[in-house]
Amino acid sequence: MATTPAPAARRAEPGMRGGSRVRRAFASASVPLLFALLCAAGIWIAHLGPEFLLRELLSRFARNALLVTALLIPVLAGLGLNFGIVIGAMAGQIGAILVTYWNVGGIGGFALAIAIATPLAILFGLATGALFNASKGREMVTGFIAGYFANGLYQLLFLFAVGSVIPWHAPHMLLPQGYGLRNTVDLLGIQYALDDLIKVRITLEGSPVRVPVVTFALIGLMCAFNVFFQRTKLGQELRAMGQDPGVAATAGIPVDRNRVIATVLSTVFAAWGQLFFLQNLGTLNTYSSHEQVGIFAIAALLVSGATVSRATVWQALMGTLLFHTLFVVSPLAGKALAGDAQIGEYFRVFVAYAVITVALVLYAWQVKQGKR
């Protein structure tokens, strides 16, 4: 029955049996291997030492891992890659902006930001989920466009309504014209609030480097939740829906309701993820911090060999590590190779897009073969 945990890939390729399992294992490992090679080549070209890499990756991993895990539940539910996590990120930013406005700093401020962002994210998730239910079969493109649409509303709110319609008693945060937030918001109050809750420093390249143990612990907790969630009744229902929504509906699973729940969970995690990201970075680019969240998180997940219909916690973590290694390395490698860091920057953006394209093509290809 649908509740037995069968790998989703089997649904896509019903004809495959025993012998091809090796080939499939190789196929799923080939993507991360390719990226590992690419990273290694970049490291070799740019002559990067392990200490430098470790320093860069410590903070980058802590910043981004949660955003990547936010993608897992929609994949399980058969919604595909949730490009709508951008909307969750906006909820997180609203929390960060308000906390800064009220001058609540430290871990209390961070907790307050989470407390503000969560109900907002639930609301946004409900709306996104409703959109997904109205556009079955093209959830990904809908989520993608919904992100842009929400960006328009977000701009309307913070660029025009704040300070004019909504009273705002912090003129230093506003643009010279008296309304609209400035392009950057300093989050000094909550910077490192979580990362430095327990201060741990290691010495790399002769200088102390922050080890965000609390952030790592929370990321671990979220991963554990994701694993645990898959074993719950709801998790099993989502898995059944991901394999065949038709069969799941006949079996009495409330498919539409569960799809909304999956979207809400993903949106809330994305809001938290964005707050994790921002408290480490310490500054908010009011109008652009959220824009790239979707593609970078999705590309990071896919780099690990995850697909549109199957992704694990392990893949999310490994993907984050690989993708951000490439992110650190490619401008430096570009500089060493062509004397121009810009080329490396174009290259990493190209890689992000290309990885998503290839994953989408493979997914659509498999679904089509499965139907045949």
Partner: protein
């Protein structure tokens, strides 16, 4: 109009007998036929013009700009039509064709071919590049049925960012095109002043009531529309539409929709290449690097605002949509800047454009 729009019309006369409530029904019926989003967008445009009149803005120059923008973007919107007609859906992969057109422009500029010969050569090269690209893209879309829009979007993104690397590395050496420092890598914006800048816009341009009409560009847009509509009356065009509306029936008649979908995608890509050359000609600049990244979205919004759905579009939709949306985009900036500071038009564009696409994607029964 779509089948759904015809239904209320059939009920119309019976309801109108009921007197005053009949009037309401008639109004509602008209409203439904226009579509609520299109109605709201039309209203917004009227509001913008009302503000322009009230604040005594220079109306003829506003309208001049509108007409200019309509001609400039027309063919790019038109390029979406064959894809929808061929059953591929909204072609978010428009940047593929656009990049081909840009490459045509750059090669032409690099060879210092100016004037009409330059415009012709750029268009021709654009078409030549677009043919293999369109074929490949069509082939890929056949293998990714059901996800065409997402694949198109991200393939477009990949190609645009991949081409960014190409623009920096490519062996173009014309000092007018490359960065002054270093002597290599194309500039982000190339000017057409000494080449084919505004050739079509100025061809037969005339003034009427203070409004300048860029005759050449508009005539070319009209000609392209006529060409497309004639194409869909030819044997190939009819098979493309037939395969879209009923693939099984078409197959029984010996038409493979695998073939027609590739043809439709190819046609769309080639039109996009021509469209961007016309765009550059009118704009006066060739924008490289990330400029084409998001170009598909306003074009798609134009088509949808015109009344098209994900699987049905006509020439009327192209024309109405281009006129409505491009007018809003043109008028919104100067008009709203009278009332509020900051670029409100950009925010309005984001909301209208993506709201419209979302509306089309979530419409029931349009699958």
């Amino acid at each position: 109009m779509s089948e759904r729009a015809i239904e209320p019309r059939a009920e119309g006369p019976a309801e109108s007998r009921a007197g005053r409530s009949g009037m309401v029904a008639v109004v509602r019926e008209h409203l439904r036929e226009i579509g609520i989003p299109r109605f709201l967008i039309g209203l917004f445009l009227l509001l913008l013009f009302a503000v322009a009149v009230l604040t005594k803005m220079d109306l003829p120059s506003l309208i001049t700009d509108c007409v200019l923008r309509i001609g400039r973007n027309g063919i790019l919107v038109l390029a979406l039509l064959p894809a929808v007609q061929g059953g591929v859906g909204l072609n978010f992969g428009l940047p593929l064709g656009i990049v081909c057109g840009l490459l045509g422009c750059v090669v032409t500029l690099n060879a210092s071919v100016g004037g009409w010969a330059g415009l012709g050569l750029a268009t021709l090269l654009g078409i030549v590049f677009a043919i293999p690209v369109g074929l490949g893209y069509g082939w890929l879309l056949n293998r990714t049925r059901g996800q065409e829009m997402m694949v198109g979007t991200y393939l477009g993104f990949s190609i645009v960012s991949g081409m960014s690397i190409f623009w920096t590395m490519a062996p173009f050496r014309n000092p007018e095109l490359v960065w002054a420092i270093g002597g290599k890598g194309l500039r982000t914006t190339l000017t057409l002043t000494n080449s084919f800048d505004k050739l079509l816009d100025k061809l037969g341009a005339f003034q009427i009531a203070g409004v300048t009409i860029p005759t050449g560009t508009l005539v070319l847009f009209a000609a392209a529309c006529v060409m497309v509509s004639l194409f869909f009356r030819t044997r190939m065009g009819i098979t493309i539409s037939a395969a879209r509306s009923n693939p099984r029936f078409a197959l029984a008649c010996g038409i493979s929709d695998q073939r027609t979908r590739v043809q439709a995608t190819l046609f769309s890509t080639v039109l996009a290449a021509i469209g961007i050359v016309v765009f550059c000609q009118s704009y006066g600049f060739v924008q490289l690097y990330t400029a084409p990244l998001l170009m598909a979205f306003p074009a798609v919004a134009c088509l949808l605002i015109g009344g098209a759905s994900v699987d049905r579009a006509t020439l009327v939709h192209v024309i109405i949509g281009t006129v409505l949306f491009q007018s809003i985009l043109t008028v919104a900036l100067p008009v709203t800047s009278q009332v509020v500071q900051g670029d409100f038009s950009e925010t309005a564009r984001l909301i209208i454009q993506n709201g419209m696409i979302l509306y089309a994607l979530t419409r029931k029964g349009s699958r």
